[in-house]
Amino acid sequence: MKNKIGVYICHCGSNISDYVDVKKLNEITAKIEGVNIAKDTMFACADSTQKEIIDDIKSNELDSIVIASCSPKLHLETFRNVAIRAGLNPYNYVQVNIREQCSWAHSDDKKGATLKALQLVKAGIERVKRSQALEPIEISSRNVVLIVGAGVAGMRSAIELADMGTEVYLIEREYFVGGRTSQWNTLFTTDETGEQVIKRLYKKVISYKSITLFTGAEIVSKSGGIGKFDIKLKIKPRHIKPNCELDWKKFDKAVSVCPIEVEDEFNFGLTKRKAIFMNYKSEFPQIPAIDTENCNRCGECVKICPEIDLDQKDEILNIKVGAILLTTGADPYEPKKDEYGYKTLDNVITLQQLKRLIELNDDKNLSYKGKKIKDVAFIYCVGSRQEEGGNTYCSRYCCTSAIHSAILLKNKYRDIRNYHINRGIRTYGKQELLYKESSENGDIYLQFFEDKIPTVEKSKNGATIKVIDILTTNREIELEADLVVLVTGMVPRKDNTIAGILKVPIGRDKFFNEIHPKLRPVETVIDAVYIAGACQAPRTIRESIDSALSATAKANSLISKGKIDLEPTLAQIDTSTCEWCGKCVDVCPYSAIKKVEKEGKQIAEIIESNCKGCGMCMPVCPSNSIQLIGYTDTEIESMIEALIS
């Protein structure tokens, strides 16, 4: 038990002392058993106060300190460093929150706030009395990052990491890099095409020796943890002989003889593709691929193109990395059958299909299924902002993308008329310029509420849309359209196997979940596993790259020093009382507990490298044999007693 405790009570200017009687609190605290020094201070975090605390610790040989000030979320590390500089173990320091959870929360009740502050300080003292001197767990780390997903976010991050001296494995599940961006034509605000952006990033990626790119690659399994992950990759064959000079004329002929036709995902099902394919000629890597899942191995292509090798097999590769960054992207929302006539009416498509349709059409006429298009009706928020069930969130990018597409249509085909049937336009920031341009182009905006959604019915020439327009005093407006475009947002990837393998938490919206949206926006609870881009939430290209760069900096700063200090918050098993029952193993989300035999007895053992210190194993133990360091029964129960005293 610690018995030479220093207690510092902060006024925080007047943020605390206006509502808590700090002087009185200090007088009472000084008399508590075990307290050696009690001081009140104007700003505990000020450099001068930090120096004073360090001097006090040294001159009075304090064995622990309590600082009653703001939330530990702000200054825990500040005061841990104070302890270290004074030669005190940083885990013999406890911070008590008497600002956010006391003076501010009870500024309507000064007497109550002072009483509460006293109980909180007492609880902090009881906790620090029982604190253990702990050492962070130091582990070595590999200065290597695995980036999963070679879209814009993944490639941009790879380049930055390589520039900072970190080795990168960049893996892409598809045969070609670029992700969703490669599917888009002209982009707002630069007017570059997705293809151009991807080309620029790819050329840069392959110029680095420290970046190894695998396409057709997926994680099969993961072991180890922060700083030292062992990853098993499966790499699908392209069925093209390595390092060969491909004759493109022969390739084109091989494509034409391939008897397999499948729906082309790149064009969102607007076209068909063969089993041997490239989505577009300038796609990267500049090597075609044979889609193993659909190829019937007839061998017709091999007869024409000897560079094709149908005998190639999956390759398994083991790599060792220090951190992992997920930039796996998102899928577009697929409307349900008959949702606004989708897949039941001929002329209803999604926004993503429209973007490909613009690319696939010539410059003279826009046509779909052989019919010339003149009137286009965009219906917004399809599959987004749903009150119940489905997706309650707003994908944010879709308003901008729809309006941008409408402008592209108007610029390419002058006689197009656009109707935007929306629930309120959210072209935030600079994107508002697009809304202005579209309005100036003569686009017509109609607005509806979610409880009175538009209807789409087949008509003689296309579709009839009826909408109760709140902008014209709730009148029902009926319009004819040649093409109905459902403005759909983003949803998490259909195949999210990787979340299971890496144990990455999923949020209520089913996207990957960060630790804290504001304070730790690219970190997950799995140490050294970061998330960025649209796998975390719907994002624009720019926002995806912003978050990728943030995750890049976090990953590099963690692993580049070659060693990592970890919080010593781990579960501990009392081997004398543990009678193996397996309940702790059942609730542990991280496979951090195993059964071992010691002295002829079966007991549980913590795998420290896997334990995340969540404590879920503790309450299920029937013999109360599990304690969490920093949250032991004696610490918690002594705090409870102090709070009620």
């Binding site: 918050t569 969490l628 409870i640 009620i644």
Partner: protein, 132 residues
């Protein structure tokens, strides 16, 4: 009459930031509400809750992570099980199970937190008056 004391088990990454934010926004709740922050709501031991009742807390509130839990998607289920087991222990000791409550408090759930605290305190006060 002294106001009943409530012990809140909050979670360091989700519900405790919400309680901090509540204070920051000066949204008032009773000053007899005390918080102990732990890593995850699924880590609260029934033993701790029973200790709180034994020592004089009128109510215990678990400010759970719910579906936002960064550790496990089964957090709600696990915390629910802890509450159910503790309710059994409370019944055995003659303690009204309604004195233990649990609700998901997300990192920005300031209004729900205040509402829960006020209604819980009201319930505990009325309960105390009836007994008196």
């Amino acid at each position: 009459m002294e106001s009943p004391k409530i012990l809140v088990f909050s979670t360091e990454k989700i519900s405790d930031p919400a309680i901090d934010l509540t204070g920051l926004l000066k949204k008032y709740y009773p000053s007899t509400v005390y918080t102990i922050a732990i890593p995850c709501s699924s880590a609260v031991k029934p033993k701790w809750i029973m200790h709180a009742f034994e020592k004089g807390f009128a109510g215990v509130f678990i400010a759970a992570d719910g579906t936002d839990c960064p550790f496990s998607e089964k957090c709600t289920e696990n915390t629910g099980n802890i509450v159910s087991h503790t309710h059994e222990f409370m019944k055995e000791k003659g303690i009204d199970p309604a004195r233990l409550k649990m609700a998901a408090i997300c990192s920005v759930c300031t209004d729900p937190f205040v509402k829960h605290m006020k209604s819980f305190l009201k319930f505990l006060t009325e309960n105390k008056e009836q007994k008196n």
